[in-house]
Amino acid sequence: MNWLTNFIPPKLKALVARKEAPENLWLKCPACEQMLFHRDLDANQQVCNHCGHHLRVRPLQRLPHLFDGGKYEVHTVPKPIVDPLKFRDQKRYIDRLKEAQSQAGPGGDGIVVASGQMEGQPAVVAIFDFGFMGGSMGMAVGEGVVTAARIAVQKKAPLILFSASGGARMQEGILSLMQMPRTTIAVREVKEAGLPYIVVLTDPTTGGVTASLAMLGDIHIAEPGSLIGFSGQRVTQAAIRETPPPDFQRAEFQYKHGMVDLVVHRHELRKTLARITAILMKRPAAEAA
């Protein structure tokens, strides 16, 4: 059916072939509901070319666009103890973890740490993976942030955090809560070394991640339309019995309320980050690419 789905216009295809269309070829934009061809999406860094909606991306999709020539080094993160509470809800946590890891690749857990050059400026990045158990921050993610911060200090390079998280990894109980102070210490030590700590808030960033390392940047950049907030909308509505405004907890709401410096299109991120870090570190301007 590939030849057919490739030639029928997206809207029509959605009508005639919704079930047959391989999911990996076409995707419906969650904002404008246009059908998007995956190759176009890849070429456009997962931004809808109809409405500009920024779709969620996983770290490995983001990395090539951040670094010059698509070249970067991925750093291994030390492994913390697994399932410290022997947690079980309807399912064992250890089974949920294995399931998520089988999709993410062995050893992966919610964050990727990498370094390279951005427009000629060195940078260390830590990128949350919302696709891995909702980007929830457990011990492994915390360890990733600690590792990224240490590498940044070693390399005397800025640390750039891309946040995307539903909050704490509840299955790790109090140890997941303790990642809030742990990651706070990590980024504090980057700042104390005189290095920039920049946060790029992406969709969605909520809960304990917002209430710790994601709100402690020297500079906060948000991708357009991202959900950014502390409490979940359902919690807020239940507590207040009041309907939040339509832009509630979106990047633009956070900008309006003073929590975000800049709302930046994904295509402009690398240049913006390189420009800011170069100025903060009193380095010469990057060559015009």
Binding site: I174, L177, R182, I185, R188, G208, A211, F230
Partner: protein
């Protein structure tokens, strides 16, 4: 009329019987027989309380931690802090009564005291917003901690909150940033910070004032990443499973001691702090005094480094 928790029914029955006998005995000539019977029942109820409270489940602990007659921050402050001088406001937006704070002397030492207060009747619960702190409350806490830092005063915090306030207005004023910054200020202090969880240590709302050199917990207090109800509704898709969630999250003082999150458990009177608030407050005061004495000779860099190292080392032991 005291408040009994559902699992305290046998205790309530016995104490009801005692009250009834005493009432009968008051105008009667058979006083001696009744006194004898009361003494027997008294011994029985004490055994009952002891056995009930030595094997509390996690969920029962949660109920005790939330007991309406349990001593709150204001009781600990009244019992332990001399010359308490409350300080108010975040200097940016408002005063938030969910956080009590001020100067005083604890165990003879000048100190800054900060506590989350839930209130204990309708009027005071509303005033203190049920202990749910808003951004301005956390910003007030930051201001007071930084003031203490400037004058070399140790900081003591009393933790008791179901969680930070989740309202629209709190989001507009940056609840996430306020909590994050409070954690950062805790970890920046060059003076000792001692925290005591007195009731509920609820998530980010609690850690905001508890990233401390020493974290103490009252025996029947709880401390968790989310309320058991919240955890159950997300992971079990039913708030009814709160009992299972409380068990699974390992939120009691003894589990947290094993995980090296809690440094010391402060024993409560038999039957919980609400049965003898004065004794609970005194035990807390003794423990706080000990930890303050322990930390007071460390220089600023050492006390900060020790605090940070402690948190960085967390998670090396599981259960």
């Amino acid at each position: 009329m005291p408040t009994y928790l559902d699992f305290e029914k046998p205790i309530a029955d016995l104490e009801g019987k005692i009250a009834e006998l005493r009432h009968q005995g008051s105008g009667d000539s058979a006083g001696i027989d009744i006194a004898d019977e009361v003494a027997k029942l008294q011994a029985k109820v004490e055994r009952q309380i002891r056995t009930t409270y030595t094997k509390l489940t996690a969920w029962q602990r949660v109920q005790v931690a939330r007991h309406p007659e349990r001593p709150h921050a204001k009781h600990y402050i009244a019992g332990l802090v001399e010359e308490f001088t409350p300080l108010a406001g975040d200097r940016g937006f408002a005063e938030d009564a969910a956080i009590m704070g001020g100067l005083g002397r604890i165990a003879g030492r000048p100190a800054m005291i900060i506590g989350q207060e839930k209130g204990d009747d309708t009027e005071s619960r509303v005033k203190h917003n049920f202990g749910m702190v808003k951004p301005e409350g956390y910003r007030k806490a930051q201001r007071l901690m930084q003031l203490a830092d400037r004058f070399g005063l140790p900081v003591v915090t009393f933790v008791d909150t179901a969680g930070a306030y989740p309202g629209i207005d709190a989001e507009e004023r940056g609840q996430g940033e306020a909590i994050a910054r409070s954690i950062e200020v805790c970890l920046d202090l060059r003076v000792p910070l001692v925290s005591l969880v007195i009731g509920e240590g609820g998530s980010g709302g609690a850690i905001a004032i508890a990233a401390a050199n020493r974290v103490l917990m009252m025996e029947h207090s709880v401390y968790s990443v989310i309320t058991p109800e919240g955890c159950a509704s997300i992971l079990w898709r039913s708030a009814e499973k709160a009992q299972e969630a409380a068990e699974a999250m390992r939120m009691t003082s003894d589990d947290l001691k094993k995980l090296a999150i809690c440094d010391e458990i402060v024993p409560e009177p038999v039957g919980g702090a609400h049965r003898d608030p004065a004794a609970a407050v005194k035990a807390a005061g003794d423990a706080i005094a000990r930890h303050l004495a322990d930390l007071e000779n460390l220089d600023g860099d050492t006390v900060r480094r020790a605090r940070r190292d402690k948190f960085l080392a967390m998670g090396q032991v599981g259960l």
